[in-house]
């Protein structure tokens, strides 16, 4: 690909994301900082990665790598160019055949001082947050000095609900919470539950923790 094309495409994609969903960052408990971080977010739509990237300050964005599925984003030269070339994505095999390699690749990014974006639910929700898969736990054990920052993506499930090909532009806020504190001797299940609670607590809508209810995107005053 022509070298100039990728920055142009990146700016185009991020600009379009802002025009459609705003992608405003709200730092609530953490501040932008160039330290190795695992940003873990709720998975709401195809636009999640772009929205979180658009919300990050440019200098951090350049050092942050969204973790994306190899089977989809490595599927064609164009997809690969968008994911890897424009958005610094780390493509991983999610079939389970190469778990050790995936873990090595993610740890290598963090150990080089850069950051990752993960969606630990593994599946798209409808405004509710599903139980987390265990990858986040293993990664935090492997690289204990990486900060675990919850990012609640607000409203984006209303923009593109599951099974809807059309997109309704709404203002989506990325709420960056306080990093998880380390708890000595905590087991996997307790850690994953606590991480999920930290993410859910950033939500302004009371329905995020309970499945099967309609969220309205209402915010409280202030």
């Amino acid at each position: 690909m022509i070298p100039l094309l990728q920055p142009a495409l990146r700016h185009g994609l991020l600009g379009l994301t802002r025009l459609l969903v705003g992608a405003r960052a709200s730092w609530e408990g953490s501040a932008p900082a160039d330290v190795p971080r695992i940003y873990f977010a709720n998975h709401t739509s195809h636009l999640d990665t772009l929205a979180v990237m658009a919300a990050l300050p440019a200098e951090l964005r350049a050092r942050t790598h969204p973790v994306a599925a190899l089977d989809y984003w490595g599927g064609s030269a164009l997809r690969r160019a968008i994911a890897v070339g424009c958005l610094n994505a780390l493509l991983v095999d999610r079939t389970g055949k190469a778990t050790a390699e995936v873990m090595d690749a993610m740890a290598a990014v963090l150990e080089s001082g850069q950051s990752l974006i993960l969606f630990p639910e593994g599946t798209r929700g409808d405004g509710t947050v599903a139980p987390f898969k265990s990858g986040l736990y293993h990664l935090s054990q492997r690289v204990p000095n990486a900060e675990l920052v919850p990012v609640f993506i607000e409203n984006l499930h209303r923009v593109m609900p599951k099974g809807m090909p059309l997109l309704v532009p709404l203002i989506c806020t990325m709420r960056f919470g306080a990093p998880l504190e380390a708890v000595a001797g905590e087991d996997k299940a307790a850690f994953l539950e606590r991480a999920r609670d930290a993410l859910v607590s950033l939500s302004r809508s009371p329905s995020a923790s309970q499945p099967d209810s309609q969220s309205t995107g209402q915010r409280t005053a202030q």
């Binding site: 409203n155 609900p161 059309l166 997109l167 309704v168 532009p169 203002i171 995107g217 209402q218 915010r219």
Partner: protein, 325 residues
């Protein structure tokens, strides 16, 4: 260097002198406000006062951007102005629908509202089809949107959902679009560019807002309606409104109106602007928010800035069209 000088000279001699005068006045006003803001920031002592001054300076900074944007659009011509308003309507509608509960069944209708109704309304204005643009949203979209939603077979909150979507379109798109539609009015005997009528409406409405804020801060005692808008005071409304009417009367030179007619028009813009802002404040209270958005620093969202236009633009448009064309 020479070519720059030439193009500046060329610009100054070909541009309407009234436009230059008004740009100069706006520039002077903004420079004065910026200087006052800087002095206040230097002299302020209390934390509460510091907050007020910080908010004031954020507002003034945003005014620079907004005035520059409109001046550029008006200089570049009516189509650019129309495109700017299309974008503003899109952003305002996005703010409104974000705060409004929606369900799956509304999705297709909302998609069409943003990507078909918004551009179509402005396109109808651009081609000068008055008969259709003035009824498109209140009649045809009014029937089409619930017809689409009802296909979702979901009666939960149906009336509320439908009504709120329609109100969003009426405020953010239909009402707002009457402001740039002023550029398409053909007024016999009026030789100035139609952009000056738009400038007149915006200036009177926005200055009324600014002076109501200033008068309210300085002399406001009697709260008008603390339950809806805690910052609105009777003193602010009367003082700010009368100041805006006085300026609007003086600006009759850029309009087809006599001084007396301009006073009447300004009064209508001020009253309609007040009620537009007041009604939108009540809606914000109802939705549980302080501002419609966060896009413009110190002002909130696009709809927070357009709220004095939404009611005054259609009124001003129709009164001008009925009596002067």
């Amino acid at each position: 260097m020479n070519s720059v000088m030439n193009s500046v000279t060329n610009f100054l001699t070909t541009t309407d002198p009234l436009f230059l005068w008004l740009s100069g006045a706006a520039l002077g006003l903004l420079v004065t406000a910026t200087l006052i803001g800087a002095v206040l920031a230097w002299r302020v002592q209390t934390p509460a006062g510091r907050d007020t001054v910080r908010n004031l300076n954020a507002r003034i900074r945003s005014w620079w951007v907004m005035v520059a944007l409109f001046a550029a659009a008006m200089l570049l011509g009516s189509v650019v102005t129309l495109v700017l308003f299309t974008l503003l309507s899109y952003l305002a509608l996005r703010e409104f629908i974000t705060l409004t509960p929606t369900r799956r069944g509304d999705h297709a209708g909302l998609f069409l509202s943003f990507f078909l109704v918004v551009p179509l309304q402005y396109w109808l204005i651009g081609i000068g089809w008055y008969g259709l643009f003035s009824i498109f949203i209140p009649v045809y979209v009014f029937m089409a949107l619930p017809s689409l939603s009802v296909l979702g077979a979901d009666p939960t909150d149906f009336l509320t959902r439908t009504a709120k979507a329609q109100w969003g379109l009426m405020l953010a798109v239909y009402c707002t679009s009457h402001a740039p539609a002023l550029l398409w009015l053909d007024i016999p005997g009026y030789r100035l560019p139609g952009a000056l009528l738009l400038l007149y409406l915006m200036t009177v409405a926005q200055l009324s807002d600014v002076f109501q804020y200033v008068f309210g801060k300085l002399w406001g005692k009697t709260r008008l309606s603390p339950g809806i808008s805690p910052s609105k005071t009777v003193e602010g409304l009367v003082g700010g409104g009368l100041t805006a009417v006085a300026i609007g009367t003086g600006l009759h030179v850029i309009t087809p109106f006599s001084p007396l007619q301009a006073a009447g028009m300004s009064l209508i813009i001020v009253i309609a602007g007040f009620f537009g802002g007041f009604v939108l404040s009540a809606m914000k209270r109802d939705l549980g928010v302080k501002d419609w958005g966060t896009m413009i620093e110190g002002h909130g969202g696009v709809l927070d800035r357009l709220d004095s236009i939404v009611f005054s633009a259609p009124l001003f448009f129709h009164l001008t069209r009925y009596w002067f064309t």
